[in-house]
Symmetry: D2
Subunit: 335 residues, 4 copies
């Protein structure tokens, strides 16, 4: 961390600052410039409050130099992590497509979709049992029965399952769920993240609509600091001023995360664009850019889907999308 102090600072305040910094366990290298004094802080600065220092009267600016995350940092863990979900591996050159309905609606529905997406090459089944909906008047999910139907579909097809948890009192219901999803709106639900750090089950953490990549990695840190190192990251679009798509897929997150972390990254083009006929090109783009996997919504009858039908593909269209992505995968960007 670098602290820029104004030229000729009040002496008492300057001493106070230096003593306080030392009390935090960091050592200080001072270099005096023409218009300011620059303090280089050496040591572990992860717990120093950068905004607090910035607010001091004698301070002009503060810059963080080390990333404030450790466990997820590729610098301290140069090799790709491989996250294993049952028989499916994410990271280190693997590529998987997770597919399934936005919401679980019935046992028949989810088994039928699972069978079809498996034929098309999907290796995991997704399905929402608890649904975060903007409106209280919209369908909120089947809850416990939704999980039950997903497990039936797993039994029928062998596909491991992923479903979203909305708060940790639901955790017992997720005992047999293979991968627990934390949705975008819960990316900074820190109490939930802490609880998920105490279990060993793999977590799929989605980026929030207005969160930076660094904040995503800080939320990972909540889980990993608790002892659970099995985290897969997921980009599902960020909020911008553009309104031709529901959100804006930040495709650059793929190379940025490949540089900053050893954890695998999955792209969800369905939520990113919100419109089914944009899913294919985005899925292909993410594959080419080197994503470790995709998560795509598939529904047998999107027109009657209870939620987000707009962004769901029919199994026939999904088959075509999957084929196109598998074709591109061998040519994808490597890191």
């Amino acid at each position: 961390m670098v602290v820029v102090v104004k030229k000729n600072p009040d002496k008492t305040q300057f001493n106070n600052l230096q003593n306080w910094l030392k009390s935090l366990g960091v050592s200080i290298h001072t270099s005096e410039g023409e218009n300011s004094i620059v303090l280089g802080l050496v040591g572990d600065t992860t717990s120093v409050d950068i905004d607090l220092i910035r607010s001091l009267e004698i301070v002009e600016d503060v810059k963080r130099i080390q990333e404030p995350y450790k466990n997820a940092n590729r610098k301290f863990h140069p090799k790709d992590s491989v996250i294993t979900v049952e028989n499916v591996h994410f990271g280190n050159g693997t590529f998987n497509i997770i597919a399934g309905p936005c919401s679980v609606e019935s046992e028949e529905q989810v088994i039928s979709i699972a069978e079809q997406v498996k034929k098309s090459g999907a290796t995991m089944l997704r399905g929402g049992a608890f649904k975060p909906r903007t409106s209280p008047y919209a369908f909120q999910g089947l809850g416990a029965s939704g999980i039950e139907y997903l497990l039936k579909a797993k039994e029928a097809t062998g596909l491991p399952i992923v479903s979203e948890i909305m708060e940790f009192s639901q955790l017992p219901l997720f005992d047999d769920v293979d991968l627990i999803q934390v949705g975008a709106r819960n990316m900074q639900n820190f109490e939930l993240l802490k609880e998920l750090g105490r279990i060993k089950k793999p977590i799929l953490l989605k980026r929030g609509l207005a969160n930076t990549i660094q904040e995503l990695l800080m939320s990972v840190e909540y889980i990993m600091a608790g002892g659970n190192e099995n985290v897969i990251l997921c980009e599902r679009g960020i909020r911008t001023f553009e309104n031709a798509t529901r959100n804006t897929l930040d495709i650059s997150i793929i190379p940025v995360l490949k540089k900053q972390t050893h954890l695998p990254i999955v792209i969800d083009p369905s939520h990113a664009c919100g419109i089914s006929y944009f899913v294919k090109p985005l899925a292909m783009a993410a594959t080419a850019a080197g994503a470790d996997g995709l998560m795509i919504e598939v529904h047998n009858d999107p027109q009657h889907a209870l939620c987000d039908g707009a962004q769901s593909l029919t199994p026939q269209v999904f088959d075509e999308v999957a084929k196109s992505c598998f074709a591109i995968r061998p040519l994808a960007c490597k890191y």
Copy 2:
């Protein structure tokens, strides 16, 4: 809701669409234009999935005409609601300043600050016991003892208290808290909102960093639909590309909400800018624009505050800010 159908649509698909819309209980007015057919949907369309219709092949576009929220809608409730927190009233021409430390740190600290802000005219005390922090390595709050110290400060000063809940298992600890705050990161924690809809205690709901005003009102709807009509709204800055301030205070939310809802609106300039010497002009601006109240962070020793010291005022500076706002208040915009 208005559905724009392409010229010469496939007949079967067009019939399907019309039948399906009728099955949702809405009636349809058709008018044929030169390049498209326009369907006007009349009736309760709050549960119609606009994105789903948009995704149909024969549909060009869909536009919502009625706001999707009811209970908070001024159209159905033209008079200002007054939300009462102990002896303090929000709405309908009242004006209150809530003040206190970002985090409760000790009994002495919070009592001392409470006494000072009361002298300056604050009518409620704020203080965080559970703190949502981006980093797991940052101070997370005192928890139950934090609430206890706040109650001591209430006893000492008579000021009702507000504190943030982070998940509903904490609810029993909030039994004696007068106003329960839902933070920006939890604005769409729908499980929490539903639970808070089942109690009668007033709720202070903060807008999320990347949420639209309409989404804020939809979150209110979760609480009100459950039966709890005591909601106060709070703006604390949104995320934009500008980085000279931590967030961007959306001052326009005041007139927008005054038009759309009957609920009171409080502005939090401290979190909006993140820097103490910007708090005063923002507080004055919010007062002039007709906010029903302010929420301001005050700390006896910002340099040693355990969190967000950067945006906290000393009691002396707060006194000056409060004076300036009380002076402006009689001249403030009326609605």
Copy 3:
């Protein structure tokens, strides 16, 4: 266009509105709902000011149904346009890479780079002679000599050239430039667009940092309405809250534009990310998503480039990027 009028509007105001709308040449279909009256406007509404109607006291809301652009609209021109720049064709299944330095620095530099990128498969040469720089203290380009050196490089290699115009008094200098670029900061420099509509030379129009896709198409309309139909669109990143990359590449623009317009779309990954080692994955993603071309910065010595060296590739790295994109192209998304 659909105008939603409040229930029981003031009669005089309602009559005024209807008469005024009719005076604009549109006819009105009225349908009365429970809480409002909906007016469907039929006819050419491109010149109706939607914001003005919205501001009337008796009006609740207004929604535009037809896109406000005509010449660029795929609805009225279903087939892909092919824009021809010398011997190079953009659109309708073609794929071209434009490459070259951010700034032209010398005759030798630009000829040497041109020869190298041609070997790697680039079919056009880019190079800035007039440079829009945020700081007045930064290098502003060689001006007329820059154009001259580009023409020398064209002579040497046969590659047609593209360069950015900054205002229309420079137009005579662009007589021999094959494709005139309008930069992001000038996307809404309407005087310049009008002038470019009066010539026949092809134009490469870059999207502004904070412009919607619809605004980009409206700016195209300025050029096409003047009689120049030779426009190629270019995405180069938009501004968001994310700061790990200089801008955020909006990859979804490819399918959105393919649906809305018949004009070709080129992606510039260099400006989008601003960092050379992110260019490759973004170029590959854009290719997979079906872009009609790429524009990539290449410099023989990025470390000493006079501008934007950070995002330039060496010719060796460019060769690798081009190979990867050409490999993916046959598998790219088709529309």
Copy 4:
């Protein structure tokens, strides 16, 4: 500027970097940390390309410490500048309201509005002769006659006038215009800024829709570096994801600019919100926060205004807004 180099860098590359930095005229202070080497650059770094350094293989990060603008910097010019437009002074405790129609439509219109706003206390007249419109099919302004009518209104009322220039070939027409406005879309039209730096007439520079405050100050630098120090800054809303208002008024720009520059700041609430009944609270907020002036659109018949009628006030409503702002002004925040 601080450059963070990776631990154990390649020696040749490290030497090259240091030699190159020295060749730019800056001296280097080195301090070695546990995980990296920190180079503190001392001297004038305004022309060092931060992105270029960031792209080097051995570099982890670079942080700028000095602001890259000089002439506008309050650090080197602590007292408020006063910009004089005829008999009107901006800055150093003065407060002025500029009012008038969005577009000049006729001599009678503009004289009548001028007389009315003068009565209400406006000290300058605004009016558009050249109009930047998103659509080429919208009214583009009266051009030279527009300027002529403004001058007639000045003759009739004594109010100095401000009007927008769209490109510098129009400059001769602005000979008698007292204050030349550069619109938001031209904030980075650097050729225009350079030309305006060569004249002595005061300039009103509006912030672009997606420009940071620092970029606004860099654009000022273009004008001031040319020798014209008469610049007034204007905030008119930035683009965000919120759509209840046309743009989002960044009210925080007032304290931020007061800290960073000595130039006066004017707020334009009309363009910021785009809806007439939101103008009053925003104007009052800006006044309270200490703006040096306001710019407000007034039209005698907003319903028939040729452009932006939605955001124009009638003279009667303007009178009320002006009264409210003048009442607040003595209580406004001081810096």
